[in-house]
Amino acid sequence: MPSMEEYAKQPRDARIQRLTRTADELAAAVKGQSDAVLSRRPDEKNWAAKEVVCHLRDAEEGFTTRFEQILAMDVDPKLAGPSADRMAEERQYLRNDAAEALAAFRKRRQETVAFFGTLIPAQWDKGAIHPVRGRITLDGFLTLMAWHDDNHLDQLTRALQGRA
């Protein structure tokens, strides 16, 4: 699994290609798994497989919302801190249907890839201030998303095996 630094060195197209594969990879991983298995947390704190899928769906919306803000502003917007666990609790991920969540993620991801396709070179350098990571450009976000996908696919595989 490439690190963030390794992804950053990859051509933009390769990183975008990585994003286009994720929905299928998720579908392959959850195929044939019962709702009970998809809903099983490996331990009290770690997410079940379906929570990982829901997280990717909602994170995708979060990413594109921020991208629109970055493009619309003359200065770098300040982003809020991460709240993934709170979202999992509040949006009741464990009650979701994993297949529906995956379909929604697939659609959001297609929109993200289409959005990246519309960017002109100067726009890739526009950015935002992340509370933990500091300034991130849109190009940096593409890197982050590629790594984020890998990270959560790995987490999902572990969850299906009952590992935290």
Partner: protein, 351 residues
């Protein structure tokens, strides 16, 4: 120990507020007491000269209850009661907020007003239910508070020799309540109308919404809450989930406006897409309400802490133009009304 034994045990107790207990004092009163009763019954309201002055204290009480912290509720309760006694020009009263309500077969004790010769009168209020130890709903707590203040006013303001639970007494309690809490406007009230109402009134209004939603959902089955009145109209549970997620967005907008100089406020949703993607129909309504309540409490904390200058700070919204915090609070009040109305319709099977 039954109720009456308990009352005798607390021989110094003058007035008890036991919800659900019938009051049939009149026939058992002597003639002098009956005269006091009739006088109490004739007075149906207590007017506050400038109720809006007390609205921040009411909003702060809602916020304090949302934190579930007894010390904060104590301070907020003292502030409101002191405001009431000062506004009405009556002597102060001692205030004590306690945790779980005492209870027995007869019910739960919500509040208590006691007077002892030579001592400052005292109001005691319990902020948690007896068995489940849940924090009492804001409107219920405020009603109890005003009820106990009502006993104090009977002696200190109306100069009655006793304080009975008459119809007039309850009307006075209600008159105070309605001056302190902005009631829901008829559906169709516009954002502009809300914008022209004082900020304190808007805050009090939005502080009451979680309780109103709770009241609307009370006793409904999960099946009824997930029933859409028409194919394209939301079920009750979807309305609650929408309020919860919209509150998250309001919170993000406040944070963006307060941390940046005129930020762009990104478009979110649309709401129907959220309902479908986040699978609102599968959610548990009570849990969604609890999370909406928590988010609303956080919004109120932010808004109460923000200065008047902060309230005029704003951001640019693509379709609505510049939105200040002041305007967003008006939008919240309107949005609450709109969706409470939708919730009521959905519960009645109307789209």
């Amino acid at each position: 120990m039954d109720f009456y034994e308990w009352v005798r045990h607390l021989s110094w107790v003058r007035h008890l507020t036991i919800h659900g207990m019938p009051f049939s004092y009149y026939a058992r009163l002597n003639r002098a007491q009956q005269a006091v009763y009739r006088k109490s019954d004739e007075i149906t309201e207590v007017r506050l000269a400038q109720p809006a002055v007390l609205h921040p204290a009411v909003a702060a009480l809602g916020t304090a209850l949302a934190t579930e912290d007894r010390a904060q509720v104590q301070r907020a309760t003292e502030r409101l009661i002191r405001g009431l006694t000062e506004t009405l020009g009556v002597p102060p009263v001692q205030v004590e907020v306690l945790a779980a309500r005492p209870h027995a077969k007869w019910g739960e004790l919500h509040g208590l007003y006691t007077v002892e010769r030579g001592k400052t009168p005292k109001i005691q209020l319990w902020m948690r239910t007896a068995k489940q130890r849940r924090v009492v709903a804001f409107r219920t707590y405020l009603r109890t508070l005003l009820h106990e203040v009502g006993h104090h006013l009977d002696y200190a303001l109306l100069r009655l020799r006793d304080s009975f639970h008459t119809e007039g007494f309850y009307k006075r309690e209600s008159s105070l309540f309605h001056q302190l809490v902005a009631e829901r406007r008829a559906p169709g009230s516009s954002v502009e109308a809300w914008f022209h109402r004082p900020p304190d009134e808007r805050l009090a209004h939005i502080a009451a919404t979680p309780d109103e939603v709770a009241h609307a959902l009370e006793g409904r089955s999960a099946r009824a809450l997930a029933r859409r009145p028409a194919a394209a109209a939301w079920a009750p549970v979807e309305v609650v989930c929408h309020l919860r997620d919209a509150e998250e967005t309001f919170g993000e907008r406040f944070a963006a406006i307060l941390s940046m100089d005129e930020p762009v406020l990104p478009e979110v949703g649309p709401a129907d897409r959220w309902a479908a993607e986040r699978q609102y129909l599968r959610h548990d309504a009570a849990t969604a309400l609890a999370h909406f309540r928590r988010r609303r409490g956080e919004s109120l904390e932010t808004l109460v802490a923000a200065s008047p200058v902060d309230w005029q700070r704003g951001g640019e919204h693509r379709t609505r133009g510049r939105l200040t915090i002041d305007m967003l609070v008006a939008i919240m009040a309107w949005h609450d009304d709109n969706h409470l109305e939708q919730l009521t319709r959905a519960l009645e099977g109307r789209s």
